[in-house]
């Protein structure tokens, strides 16, 4: 029997990046806000202090910060005619858990999408012809333009204190930055990180081969910084423990280091941790949410009434919560009708491994977004005529870490164990590096999320089912990008080079990335989107999904966090300036 709590103005489901940004903006405006978080409370000094935060076994191998499948998982299949099976050990992608969410364990790579990414379908059809795109490719224009989102990118980057070099300031190209990026209203809040030898060698080779390298934008800060909320971050120490780790030095932007200190000062904000929202409750018309139900760690059910429900969990769980709550029409891949779960997409990554001659790279001097990058082959920055694919990605030398358990590069032909293997790892560690591509993943009719017909979670609710495989377009794109990258790699004069273009089928047991997007897509047409351009549900006007990656109509050739943060601010403004004045559909 659920116990009913006193009503709140706003209930936030999930206290990660979007939840903490919305919490701050709405609490600051005077609303009474409660955030309900599935995982534990997490704080820098007590949960990832420098004295043990750099524990590779605990965090990178045993995945201490991540969601446990026993608590919540999903089922997976490649094709619609297969039977999906539950993921019993997360490995292909790693959903976070707890306060801070993915903002705790991310690498800090902070990219804007290209201006043409926001109108990708109309742009490609205009440039390459109306029939150029594959029939089953379901990419669509975003409901907002780059010009509209630019101020919100700027706000999120200022929140993080992102380090980098602008390539385009208000339309004027800037030497040293990314010449392909959209215009920026301001320079990055902090200057670029210092580059190591490997990145410097890559940049030389890239220039020599006619490309335009620039430092990777990083929310691992090059210098101490005070953000607009008054919260101070420290300088990155290049310790190389970012992805899968919390930062103990207050130098990687996260909800903990960038928002929560200011948010927690509001007496009208509170957080309920270790409590999982099971359902968004609707009134008898089904057009208005009355609040949420959740279950705490003792199994006690609670009902939290609220006037506004903000769905701020990780992308999968946003989709699943709408499906379980009956908000929006579920997507049916057979007919192509329905919207919730539609346009699930991922990221198409690949690598080129190098062993250099007589170099000492000191690869352990690293941070999550540390390297030199080229953007020549991203989005539609290059002519796709005759290539047989669309999309692209950034590529370059990124030195995120060289931790001792997992970083054991050896030349080809080395035995997999024993004295020779040991000798080879010792000789190779300082000379080896990996170049990477980070490619787009366009959406397709047969890549989607729905409720599993068989498997249920600990509370008896159906698990979510993922149906996903790489399509030819993405595999061709990956082959092309990897070839280009290998050409630059060869210009670095390696002793050995091995290219690993992405190959199908998608394997959910090999880690690639946790950039899982789509399922609650934003758009201008209710028949192809779950949310309108303000991330508001078309069907239930007081439910918003403020910018989690589940709102992406497809995934582009960049990491999602900057766009997630920008859309959180975009939605906060829409709620404050439009919705609160006249609650109702904004579309």
């Amino acid at each position: 029997m659920a116990r009913k709590l006193p009503p709140k103005d706003v209930v936030i489901i999930g206290l990660g990046w979007t939840g903490s940004i919305l919490g701050y903006e709405l609490a600051k405006a005077g609303l009474d806000v409660v955030a309900i978080e599935r995982g534990p409370w997490r704080d820098t000094a007590s949960d990832f202090p420098p004295a043990y935060a750099q524990d590779e076994l605990r965090y990178a191998i045993r995945l201490d910060l991540f969601l446990r499948p026993e608590q919540q998982t999903l089922t997976f299949r490649n094709k619609m005619n297969e039977t999906a099976l539950p993921i019993r050990s997360f490995s292909g992608f790693l959903p976070g858990n707890g306060v801070g969410g993915a903002g705790v364990h991310w690498n800090g790579q902070t990219w804007r999408f290209l201006p043409t990414d926001f109108n990708i379908r109309s742009h490609l059809e205009q440039r390459y012809g109306a029939d150029a795109l594959p029939a089953d490719m379901t990419i669509q224009d975003w409901p907002l333009s780059y010009d509209e989102i630019e101020p919100y990118y700027d706000r999120f980057e200022k929140l993080c204190g992102t380090s980098g070099k602008a390539g385009n300031l208000k339309g004027v190209k800037q030497p040293g930055g990314n010449p392909f990026e959209g215009w920026r209203s301001a320079e990055y809040p902090t200057p670029p990180l210092k580059q190591g030898l490997g990145a410097t060698l890559f940049a030389e080779a890239a220039r020599k081969t006619g490309h335009m390298p620039f430092p990777q934008p990083a929310s691992n800060l090059s210098e101490a910084y005070t953000n607009p909320l008054g919260v101070k971050l420290g300088q990155c120490t290049y310790c190389g423990f970012c992805e899968r780790f919390g930062c103990g030095n207050y130098s990687k932007a996260s909800p903990q280091t960038s928002v929560l200190p200011a948010l927690l000062r509001f007496p009208n904000f509170s957080a309920q941790t270790e409590s999982e929202v099971t359902k968004i409750n609707l009134d008898s018309t089904g057009k208005r949410a009355t609040g949420v139900s959740y279950v705490d760690s003792s199994g006690q059910e609670w009902e939290q009434p609220a006037d506004l429900v903000l769905v701020c969990a990780f992308s999968f769980f946003n989709v699943r919560l709408l499906l379980l709550s009956g908000i929006g029409k579920p997507y049916d891949a057979q007919t192509g009708q329905g919207v919730v779960g539609r346009n699930y997409a991922y990221q198409t990554t690949s690598s080129v491994d190098l062993i250099l001659k007589d170099k000492i790279l000191n690869p352990f001097i690293a941070t999550g977004a540390h390297g030199m990058i080229i953007d020549d082959y991203n989005g539609d920055n290059f002519d796709h005529t005759g290539l047989g694919f669309f999309g692209g990605g950034y590529m370059g030398f990124g030195q995120t870490n060289a931790r001792p358990i997992e970083t054991r590069p050896v030349p080809k032909g080395t035995p997999k164990w024993g004295a020779q293997w040991k000798k080879a790892t010792a000789e190779t560690y300082q000379r080896a590096c990996s170049l990477a591509t980070h490619g787009s993943s366009y959406s397709y009719k047969d890549c989607y999320l729905d409720l599993d017909p068989t498997y249920k979670d600990r509370l008896g609710r159906p698990l979510m089912r993922m149906t996903f495989d790489f399509h030819d377009n993405e595999l061709k794109m990956s082959a092309f990008l990897t070839d280009r990258l290998a050409e630059i790699g060869k210009a670095m004069d390696p002793a050995e080079i091995t290219a690993h273009p992405r190959q199908g089928p998608y394997n959910s047991t090999i880690y690639q990335t946790t950039h899982n997007t789509g399922g609650t897509v934003m758009g201008t047409d209710p028949s192809t989107s779950v949310l309108n351009r303000y991330c508001q549900s078309w069907d239930v006007h007081n439910v918003f999904v403020p910018g989690g990656a589940s709102v992406f109509p497809q995934n582009h050739g960049y990491n999602p966090t900057d766009t997630v943060g920008a859309l959180a601010y975009w939605t906060a403004d829409a709620i404050l300036q439009r919705y609160l004045r006249n609650p109702g559909p904004l579309g």
């Binding site: 704080d43 000094a45 420098p50 004295a51 101490a224 008054g230 971050l233």
Partner: protein
């Protein structure tokens, strides 16, 4: 005639003002002044319990002699001070005598409040009278026998207490005098920062030269260049009191509470006057610099290795720290204080800095008690206290052991 009238009023007032009648609830100026004086005097710090009703009492103070609990000072007639007369209220703050002449313990800082003017004390009274009465009975005296006999305070007062209002120093500016009044009176800085004699009384020959209580060393806040605030500019001191942080350090422990409830809420003018006074408390030569422990010493070398592994990521190789985030160690008076109690404590237990509107970050130092032995803590502190131009007595492993034991007893 006028004098007689005044005397008659005085006689009458204890009766007339019983209950809340003493406060004219229309006298907004006075009530507001009383509210602000209660901030200066930080009444709420002791008389409120975290999560409890403000001023309803209940915070347990661990004194060297035992536990005392601050009483309920809301106007509740039964459990609060609703039945207290103005004269009794004045006597509490000025003379350490509560209702019916009962002796107070000096955990109530009447040795400082005695310097406050009658008018200021009664303004606080007027403000407290406007609070909602809260029924909360508090057993204040939890001292062991024989200290629990309040009459013992008669003798304590004879030895340690000089009643009397603040006397302005005509040679000094109005700002300095205002600062002195706040520091010595309502803000009762000496209650923590002045060393105590064996009876717990102030050692006024060394006023504000630093004291140890509740497992913290409240640092020297005299103008001493090496040990006190002599190295801080007036602006840095103002910034610290206002925001809880400056380039040198961040407020933590009991001072974090003082910043939260009191100094960050003071007017800019009062903070400036306090700083004027503290920066000009008489000629202070730097106390003699001890000979630093040699860098080649075995303990120093061990300390350096421990420092690089555990501390340098935030405090930096050269102890330079980061303003408002990681305290500066090189040149810090606190780091070189004679009494390393606070240093040992923050290494063992960790601590969180204060969060204020201007500096919300509240960074925290993690605990190292699970990771470093007593000898390792002693070595790293000895290294920090004798590097980068610092010079201070080495920290003994036995001192760390003692503190580890006492921290384990007082969660």
């Amino acid at each position: 005639m006028r004098r007689i009238f005044a005397a008659a009023l005085l006689l009458v007032s204890p009766v007339a003002s019983a209950g809340s009648a003493s406060a004219d609830s229309q006298d907004f100026d006075r009530i507001e002044r009383g509210r602000y004086l209660a901030v200066l005097a930080d009444c709420g710090a002791c008389h409120s319990k975290p999560g409890g009703q403000p001023f309803a009492g209940g915070l347990a103070l661990r004194t060297p002699f035992g536990i005392l609990v601050a009483p309920n000072i809301t106007p509740d007639p039964e459990t609060g001070i609703g039945n207290m007369t103005d004269a009794e209220f004045l006597a509490s703050l000025h003379d350490g005598r509560g209702r019916n002449g009962r002796r107070l313990y000096p955990a109530m800082p009447y040795p400082a409040y005695t310097k406050m003017s009658d008018d200021d004390v009664l303004a606080i009274r007027a403000y407290l009278a406007t609070l909602a009465p809260v029924s909360n009975a508090v057993v204040t005296n939890r001292l062991p026998f024989p200290l629990n006999i309040r009459l013992a305070m008669v003798f304590w007062n004879k030895l340690n207490f000089t009643p009397g209002r603040y006397q302005a120093d005509a040679r000094k500016s109005a700002e300095w005098n205002r600062g002195a009044y706040i520091v010595e009176g309502p803000a009762h800085c000496g209650t923590c920062h002045t060393p105590k004699n064996f009876l717990g009384g102030d050692n006024n020959d060394h006023a504000l030269a630093g004291g140890t209580l509740q497992g913290w060393f409240a640092p020297d806040i005299t103008g001493d260049v090496r040990k006190g605030l002599g190295g801080w500019s007036k602006d840095e001191l103002v910034q610290y009191l206002k925001t809880g942080a400056n380039k040198w350090t961040l407020a933590t422990g009991p001072m974090a509470e003082a910043v939260t409830h009191s100094t960050s809420r003071m007017t800019d003018r009062d903070i400036s006057d306090i700083a004027s006074y503290l920066k000009d408390d008489g000629a202070h030569d730097a106390s003699p610099r001890p000979t630093p422990v040699e860098a080649g010493d075995g303990v120093m070398r061990a300390g350096q290795a421990i420092y690089r592994d555990n501390c340098a990521a935030c405090h930096r190789d050269a102890g330079t720290g980061e303003a408002d985030l990681f305290p500066l160690l090189a040149g810090s008076a606190q780091v070189q204080s004679d009494d390393p109690t606070t240093l040992v404590r923050v290494v063992l237990q960790g601590t969180r800095a204060v969060s204020t509107l201007a500096r919300p970050t509240a960074p925290a130092m993690p605990a190292f008690d699970w990771r470093l032995t007593d000898a390792q803590v002693a070595a790293v502190l000895t290294y920090i206290r004798n590097s980068w131009g610092n010079a201070a007595a080495p920290v003994a492993a036995s001192a760390v052991a003692t503190q580890r034991t006492s921290l384990a007893k007082t969660p």
